[in-house]
């Protein structure tokens, strides 16, 4: 009995130690970028010699962050709206109907999440450049929709499934067509699910690097791609202005992540989850 509880205690503190190690190191990693972005000069000492906020205005001008942020907003909004328009009706059909070829269709929607972006991104970029869409903002939006639309479908299907079919039948009994039933019955009930899905797509699209990198041209870069090029060419510019840009990027994602986490259970970030009823 004693030996068992001792082993258990050792095991528990080992796990706690590992988690602390991870969180502390990631936290310090972020803190290092933050410190550097406010540093006058920082060369191999614990703390920089002086503090300044001027790197932020420098980064803003140097990397044309105004236009980059604007492109990012346009891309992300377009991806969220279009993926909802494509994904929600498809999720509804997949949740409610059985039809021949349904399994094949599910596979078609799962594959883009299983194949890494680099593998299909390169043929996709080739096709987009042939259609004269490569390098434009439309090419970037289309490319980002490929993982986003199936993601919406996967998140929304269980949401639709949990809505009682009888509500729809009742609406039909009173003479509502599919369109009216959708607007007056389903949409209000689907509200929380739609909100969750759109926030998740938003956070993922801001951070998605590979597809944007492969399809973006000079004036259609999003924030994460601009940051990559800044770090890639780090020797040319003051490291502090690159760090200032990294901080701006992180603040943008963190704000949205925190908003998302208010409405969404973190486990929904990666997979479809049916909420267990808390009060049965």
């Amino acid at each position: 009995m004693n030996a068992g509880s001792l082993a258990e205690r050792v095991w528990r503190s080992l796990l706690l130690g590992l988690m602390t190690l991870f969180v502390v190191n990631v936290g310090l990693l972020i803190a290092a970028v933050a410190t550097s972005s406010f540093a006058k000069r920082w060369l191999g000492t614990w703390l920089p010699e002086g503090w300044t906020a001027s790197w932020y205005s420098a980064a803003w001008k140097e990397f044309q962050l105004g236009s980059v942020l604007w492109v990012t907003i346009e891309v992300v909004l377009a991806v969220v709206v279009l993926s909802l328009l494509i994904g929600v009706p498809a999720a509804y059909t997949l949740a409610r109907r059985d039809f021949p070829g349904k399994r094949a269709l599910m596979l078609l929607f799962l594959l883009p999440l299983m194949v890494p972006p680099m593998t299909y991104g390169i043929p996709l970029a080739t096709v987009l450049y042939q259609a004269h869409l490569g390098g434009t903002i439309w090419g970037v939006i289309l490319a980002n929709l490929i993982p986003a639309a199936p993601f919406v479908i996967l998140v929304m299907t269980p949401f639709v499934e949990q809505i009682d079919v009888n509500l729809e039948n009742a609406a039909r009994v009173f003479g509502a067509g599919t369109g009216r039933m959708f607007v007056h019955v389903l949409l209000p009930l689907l509200g929380p699910g739609v909100l969750a899905a759109s926030l998740l797509v938003l956070v993922r699209t801001i951070a998605l690097f590979e597809l944007t990198f492969l399809t973006a041209g000079g004036d259609s870069q999003t924030l994460v791609v601009a940051l990559y090029y800044a770090v890639f060419a780090a020797g040319v510019r003051a490291p502090q202005s690159v760090d200032a840009m990294a901080m701006i990027y992180m603040l943008v994602t963190l704000v949205w992540l925190l908003i998302a986490l208010r409405f969404v259970n973190p486990t929904q970030l990666v997979s479809r989850v049916k909420e267990q009823p808390q009060h049965a």
């Binding site: 059909t93 078609l108 890494p116 043929p123 039948n169 973190p266 990666v270």
Partner: protein
């Protein structure tokens, strides 16, 4: 309930099915078509016969070793991520006050993205970073540490960006398993270890295999951190760098597509092996909790 959709007479053609058409057309146009296009493009090389690109890939010194280099990074990273995530997620399955806080803390790195993690690691793990200072302060290691611009830097960044993903996925599988099963086992005298081995682990097997595959796919396509944190000319010249160079530096889209196809194939082999292994070790109902 399930049959309620059929309780009233349906018209010969169910118009609801039309709702799935836009999504299907979209995926066919932008995912399947480019993929097939890339496949046939890979068989039409700039010069030489049908298989020239593939022969070129497997006979060129800076191309075929990229498979091994990528696997050498992706497999350990995936094993570390899943191996760490399993016990931690198992610990966090119980709903406590801290569950939400801890999961939130562990989620943050997902949204940082690989590029920001790379930039942060260059500062923090660099030879003059805080970690190096700290290790010298406590006299654990006095020399300059070398954790950036080599294999280890890329591996660490893969763990930082991949662990939260594996953790969340496994957590969502574990919380789907009914705790009543474990309590029943406890009534019959099973200790915590036996409960985990005989109740949770078999029910988790399908989820674990899935998680391993997804985490592996993510690690296998490593690109930004291999360039920024690794040594992209040598030890961390991963396969996506080779594909990118062929497409956007040599403008040989045919060769680039061939490399992308090889990449997809290797991945498929590993995924199939893992799913096959699950079948050997575990025979039983396919799913233990939520589907």
């Amino acid at each position: 309930m399930a049959a309620s959709a059929d309780t009233y007479a349906r018209p010969a053609f169910d118009r609801t099915l039309l709702l799935v058409v836009p999504a299907a057309v979209f995926m066919l146009l932008l995912f399947v078509y480019p993929f097939l296009y890339g496949l046939q493009l890979s068989f039409r090389p700039k010069e030489g016969g049908l298989l020239w690109n593939y022969i070129h890939f497997f006979t060129t010194d800076n191309l075929w070793p990229t498979i091994g280099i990528t696997l050498k990074l992706a497999l350990p990273a995936t094993l570390i991520n899943v191996g760490l995530a399993l016990p931690i997620a198992y610990k966090m399955r119980v709903k406590t006050r801290y569950q939400r806080v801890v999961t939130t803390l562990l989620v943050v790195p997902i949204t940082l993205g690989t590029v920001l993690i790379a930039e942060g690691m260059l500062l923090y793990f660099g030879p003059k970073g805080w970690l190096s200072h700290f290790l010298q302060l406590i006299h654990l290691y006095d020399g300059p540490i070398r954790l950036t611009h080599n294999y280890w830097g890329v591996l660490i960044s893969l763990v930082i960006s991949g662990f939260p993903f594996a953790f969340l996925l496994i957590l969502s599988y574990i919380t789907g398993i009914d705790p009543v099963l474990a309590r029943a086992a406890a009534t019959l005298g099973a200790g915590p270890g036996a409960q985990f081995r005989h109740i949770y682990l078999p029910l988790l097997a399908p989820g674990l295999a899935m998680c391993f595959c997804l985490a592996f796919v993510q690690a296998f396509s490593v690109f930004p951190s291999a360039v920024l944190l690794g040594a992209p000319a040598g030890p961390t010249r991963v396969i996506s760098i080779a594909a990118y160079e062929a497409a956007f530096e040599q403008y040989d889209y045919s060769l680039a597509s061939a490399i992308a196809m090889v990449m997809g194939f290797v991945q498929l082999v590993i995924v199939a092996a893992v799913l096959g292994m699950r079948r050997v070790f575990y025979r039983g109902p396919v799913s233990g909790g939520k589907g």
